[in-house]
């Protein structure tokens, strides 16, 4: 029987950085081994109670972690300490994830008039060639582009993407929703505006509407795919 003897310090490395702690888990050992070592390291380590919350960035190299495994590692890290897992960084993604990201990054082209009572919901960006009538709803996990009249409700970034925007040839919506932000039309009748877009203004902490041309300054990276590749 061959026993793999590995140096503890090589399996789990903890480095302090300006952003908090970086926890590197070697990708050559088995998952069980990594967990075992991690447990050991966490038990050995001493932490003071009154320390502020420390963000931890977990780097796993060429190891693929399932959601359950991520949870297990997280539970090990946060026990007894005031650590908080901020991010996981892995060099590999699963095929499903990659395809889902691609789907989310895809522009879905729809040609129709979305009428009162109808809900058009897509994953990814929505390019609607047609109108959104009052009482109708369009939803997308990404951006919404309406080549036509937007008079109903548009919900971009419906799964929480605050970077999403809503653009329309003619904008006179009853509500604009981006991620969890909602803005509604004023109570008086308005004429609507042409070629404008709505987005979340971080400083004002609300949805703002501006000319389409302003987009190039506000959102340089409209494509979600690159973002997902970078940030997971």
């Amino acid at each position: 029987m061959v026993q793999i003897i590995q140096d503890d310090t090589q399996t789990i490395t903890i480095k302090g950085t300006r952003e908090g702690l970086t926890l590197v888990i070697e990708d050559t050992c088995s998952y069980d081994e990594a967990i075992f070592q991690l447990k050991k390291r966490m038990e050995e380590a001493e932490f003071k109670e009154d320390e502020p919350i420390v963000p931890v960035h977990v780097k796993v190299g060429n190891r693929y972690l399932t959601e359950e495994q991520k949870k297990e590692i997280e539970s090990l890290i946060i026990t007894k300490t005031n650590f908080k897992v901020e991010s996981y960084e892995s060099k590999v993604v699963s095929k499903e994830d990659a395809l889902a990201w691609l789907d989310e990054a895809d522009v879905k082209r729809v040609m129709k008039v979305v009428r009162s009572g109808q809900v058009l919901s897509v994953i990814g960006d929505l390019l609607l060639l047609g109108d959104v009538n009052p009482g109708a709803t369009v939803k997308a996990t990404g951006n919404i582009f309406v080549m036509g009249n937007l008079r109903g409700i548009a919900h971009a970034g419906s799964t929480g993407n605050q970077e999403a925007i809503i653009a329309a040839s003619y904008m006179n919506p009853s509500q604009l929703r981006i991620a969890e932000y909602i803005s509604r039309a004023p109570d008086y009748e308005t004429d609507g505006v042409y070629m404008e877009c709505g987005f979340i203004h971080k400083e004002e902490d609300k949805i703002m509407i501006d000319r389409l041309q302003a987009l190039s300054h506000i959102r340089k990276d409209l494509r979600g795919f690159e973002r997902r590749m970078k940030n997971g």
């Binding site: 009428r115 009162s116 009572g117 109808q118 109108d131 009538n133 009052p134 009482g135 109708a136 009249n149």
Partner: protein, 265 residues
């Protein structure tokens, strides 16, 4: 082989029954064999508008439930040989008319009549579903009110999900002075929102109410504006190219181009 046209609106009280009666009458005036079907079970009034109320013996529910033959329930109009009415039941509710029942009745009637005009109940429930099930095409009636346009939009959405060809639009109860002052949605605006073809506009006319109350559809009296409007709709149904009636005596009502540029300025 005839054609079945359903008159629908979603919202109640916009003039479906009046429109049905008048389009039917106008088509009959043009020597077409027409059968009107009232599917507003429990709240029938097409027979009242047509002045045929006291001739009802059997109704559509009797036909569907097999208590009588279809031809027994049909009422011949007192003015035209070529116009008939299949009245609704007053005692049952809307679920009594099934989609299959409607399809069967309409396909039978199609063999004998040129046009079958179906008066749809308000709402989008079973009654509506049954009424549209047998129709080849639909005419959506709306008034220049927001609520009515909204419901019309909903109805068009539902109609688009069926096999039917694109519905056409009648704008009813137009009040010219209110449209001009901007207190009412104007025709272009309504057409733009609903984005279907307009088949007719009817102004709000006292003569319509008077005629309905006397059991004589206004289309009989050729000298009112509303009567001409309904006759024009009938002619458009027959495929004629009739220009839209101007709301005022001056020209320039439908200069869309002008408005198009006007919007940008």
């Amino acid at each position: 082989m005839g054609e079945a046209i359903v008159i629908t609106s979603g919202k109640g009280g916009v003039g479906k029954t009046t429109t049905t009666a008048n389009i039917g009458t106008s088509l009959a005036l043009m020597d077409k064999k027409v059968c009107l079907i009232d599917t507003d079970i429990g709240l029938r009034n097409l027979d009242v508008v047509m002045g045929l109320e006291n001739r009802i013996i059997y109704d559509i529910v009797d036909v569907i439930e097999g208590r009588c033959k279809l031809h027994q329930a049909l009422i011949k109009d007192k003015r035209f040989e070529s116009l008939s009415l299949l009245p609704a039941a007053q005692t049952s509710d809307k679920s009594a008319v099934t989609e299959e029942g409607m399809i069967e009745i309409v396909s039978t009637l199609k063999q004998e009549y040129d046009y079958i005009i179906i008066d749809c109940p308000a709402g989008i429930e079973q009654g509506f579903q049954s009424a549209i099930a047998a129709a080849d095409r639909a005419i959506v009636v709306t008034t220049p009110e927001k609520s009515s346009v909204r419901d019309g939009d909903r109805i068009i959405g539902l109609l688009e999900n069926t096999e039917m060809e694109r519905p056409r639009l009648v704008i009813n109860r137009i009040r010219n002075h209110m449209m001009k002052s901007g207190d009412m949605l104007d025709i272009d605006e309504i057409v733009q929102i609903l984005s279907i073809d307009l088949i007719g506009i009817v102004i709000d006319d006292d003569a319509v109410i008077k005629a309905s109350n006397s059991g004589e559809p206004v289309a009989f009296h050729p000298n009112t504006k509303s009567s001409i409007a309904y006759r024009n709709i009938a002619r458009r149904i027959l495929g004629e190219n009739v220009p839209m009636q101007s709301l005022e005596d001056k020209k320039g009502m439908f200069t869309k181009v002008k408005r198009f540029f006007g919007m940008r300025s």
